[in-house]
Amino acid sequence: MSVLLKLSGLSITARLADGELTLLDDVDLEIRRGQIVGVVGESGSGKTTLARAVVGLLDRNVRVDRGTVTVGDEQVVAPGVDRTARVRGSAVGMVFQDASRSLNPLLKVRTQLAEVLRRHVRDITRAEVERRSVEVLAQMRIDDPGRVLASYPHQLSGGLRQRVAIGLAVVTRPALVIADECTTALDVTTQTKVVDLFRTLVDELGIGLLFVTHDLMLASDLCDRIAVMSGGRVVEQGDALTVLDRPQQEYTRRLLAAIPSWS
C-alpha cells in the first residue's frame, strides 16, 4: 500500500512574548491508502497543530524546527520550507472542528462547491461543475442535492451543513482527508452518521483519513491505527485494538481509565 502522508521527526515551536513553546516534538506518523489513522489526546496535546501543519495553516508565530511532512512523493514541509499550497485542497482535503461554521454564510452551497472545483480542476466546464457537485452531495448521502445546492448554509440543518463541509473537502478527489475534531459540535446521533459516512468514503474511494479527536471511544470505533499524543509528543502508536486493549504507556492507561463506564 502506498504511503499518502508521512511525518518524520516533525518538531514545531511557537514564539510567544515570554519565550518559546514546543507544540510538536519529534513526531513520526504515516497514513496509507484506505487507512484511517486516529490522533487522540487531550486539549493542548498538539493534535490540531499536527493537522494544520500538513496544510500549512499554522499561525504566523509558529515555526518548523526539524523534520519533514511528505504528501505522496512531495515533501511539502521542512524547516524554512512551505510548499503546502501545492497540495492544499487538491491532494489533501480538510474538515474542521466546527464544520457548520466552515461554510461562508453569504454564498450558496453551489457557489462554494463551484469555487473549489474551478480552482483545482483545469478548464472545467459549467456542466461538469454541476455534475460533480451533485455527485459529491449524493456521495455524502444527501437525498435532495438540488435543494441543498440552491440553499444558503443557514437554511440547512447542522447535520446537512456538516455533510456539505465534508463534501467540499472531498469534491476535488483528494487522496488524503484530514478531519480535525469534526464531530465534536454534533449530537451523538449525527456524530454516528458522520463517522459511518467517513468509513464508507474510505472504503468506496480508497482515500486515507487522518481523524483527530479527543474522544478515545469514537477513535476506537472508526480507526485502524491510533496515535496517542501528549505534550506535543506521540507517546504511543499502533493498531487501534492493541493500543486500547494493551496500552503500553502509563499516559494511555490513564486516558482509558478516565472514560466513564457503566459498571
Binding site: 492544499r88 474542521f96 466552515s102 473549489v116
Partner: protein, 307 residues
C-alpha cells in the same frame, strides 16, 4: 414574499416614519424656541404695531398647534415655506444649493472609500505588524484633526504658499480638490478603522481557514470571503456618513466659501430665518430616513440571512 418578510418590512417603514415625525416636530419646536424673528427682520427700533403686523403676515399670531399642523401639511406637500431674508421659496433655494453639496460630498466620500477601505484591509491582513500600526495611527490622527483647522492648513499650503489651487469658492474641478480632500479626512479615518476591525473579525471566522484549506488563493480569501462578510458595517457607515455630510458640511463649506447647503444653513441661523432653518433640518431628516431605508435594502442584498 413571505408573511414574516412583509411584517418586518412594514414594521421597519413604520419606525422610519415615526422617526421622521419626531425629527419634524423637533425642527418645528427648536425654530419657535430661537426667539422672535420680527425683531431681527425689522430691527430693534421698530414700533410694536409694525412688528404686530408682520407677525400677523407671517402667521405667527396663530395658536402654535395651528402653526404646527400647517407646517406638517406643507412638508408633506413639498412646500417648506418662505425664507424671511431672501423672500424666496425654501424648496427652490435648497434645490439650487444641493448640486454643490452633492459634488462635494460625492467627491469626498469617494476619496474616503478609495483610501479608507484598502488601508483598513491592509492593516487587518497584516495585524500586529508595522503596516497595521502605521495605518491605525494615521486613522486615529485623521479622526482627531479638526476639520476647519485642516482646511485652513491646506489653504495656506496649496493656495497661499504654492499657489497651485484656488483658496475657495466654486467653479471648476480645481476648486473642488481642496474642499473634497478636507471633507474626506474624517470619514476616511472612520472607514479605515471600521474596516480594520470588521475585517479582522471576519478573518478570524472558521470559514476563512476552511477556504484557505481548500486551496483558495489568498487574494480571493481576503476579498471574496472575508471582505464581503465584513462589508455590512462599512456600507452602513458610508451611507449614514453621507447623510450627515449632505445635510450640512458646515465647517468645510464655510472655510472654502463653498455655496452649498451648509453655507445656506449658516446664513439662515445667523439671520434667525427660522423657516429656512426648519426647511434645511426637514430636508436633512428626509435624506436620513431615505438613506436608512437604503441601508436596509443593501443589507438584505448582501446578506441572505436577513432576507
Amino acid at each position: 414574499m413571505k408573511a414574516s418578510t412583509v411584517r418586518r418590512v412594514g414594521g421597519r417603514l413604520a419606525s422610519l416614519f415615526a422617526s421622521l415625525l419626531i425629527a419634524l416636530s423637533l425642527a418645528f419646536l427648536l425654530g419657535r424656541l430661537s426667539g422672535d424673528p420680527t425683531a431681527t427682520i425689522l430691527g430693534p427700533m421698530a414700533p410694536p404695531e409694525q412688528r404686530e403686523a408682520l407677525r400677523h403676515q407671517l402667521g405667527l399670531d396663530l395658536p402654535v398647534v395651528v402653526q404646527y399642523l400647517d407646517y406638517l401639511k406643507g412638508v408633506f406637500t413639498g412646500d417648506l415655506g418662505q425664507s424671511l431674508q431672501f423672500y424666496q421659496s425654501n424648496t427652490s433655494m435648497i434645490a439650487d444649493r444641493l448640486p454643490y453639496t452633492l459634488q462635494l460630498v460625492g467627491a469626498g466620500m469617494a476619496l474616503a472609500l478609495l483610501v479608507g477601505v484598502p488601508l483598513g484591509v491592509l492593516a487587518a491582513t497584516r495585524e500586529g505588524t508595522w503596516w497595521d500600526r502605521g495605518a491605525s495611527t494615521l486613522a486615529l490622527l485623521g479622526q482627531s484633526v479638526p476639520v476647519f483647522w485642516f482646511g485652513m492648513m491646506l489653504v495656506v499650503l496649496f493656495a497661499v504658499k504654492l499657489g497651485w489651487l484656488p483658496a475657495g469658492q466654486s467653479g471648476s474641478p480645481r476648486h473642488l480638490i481642496l474642499p473634497a480632500l478636507t471633507m474626506s479626512v474624517y470619514p476616511m479615518a472612520h472607514i479605515a478603522r471600521l474596516t480594520r476591525a470588521s475585517m479582522s473579525d471576519a478573518l478570524a471566522e472558521p470559514y476563512i481557514d476552511s477556504a484557505r484549506a481548500r486551496g483558495i488563493s489568498t487574494r480571493r480569501v481576503v476579498w471574496r470571503h472575508a471582505f464581503t462578510n465584513a462589508m455590512m458595517p462599512i456600507l452602513t457607515i458610508v451611507v449614514l456618513q453621507t447623510g450627515i455630510l449632505l445635510s450640512g458640511a458646515v465647517a468645510v463649506e464655510y472655510v472654502y466659501s463653498w455655496p452649498g447647503l451648509g453655507q445656506l444653513a449658516l446664513q439662515a441661523i445667523q439671520f434667525r430665518d427660522f423657516p429656512l432653518v426648519q426647511a434645511i433640518v426637514v430636508f436633512g431628516a428626509l435624506v436620513f430616513v431615505l438613506l436608512n431605508l437604503l441601508v436596509d435594502v443593501l443589507h438584505s442584498i448582501v446578506d441572505p440571512r436577513v432576507r
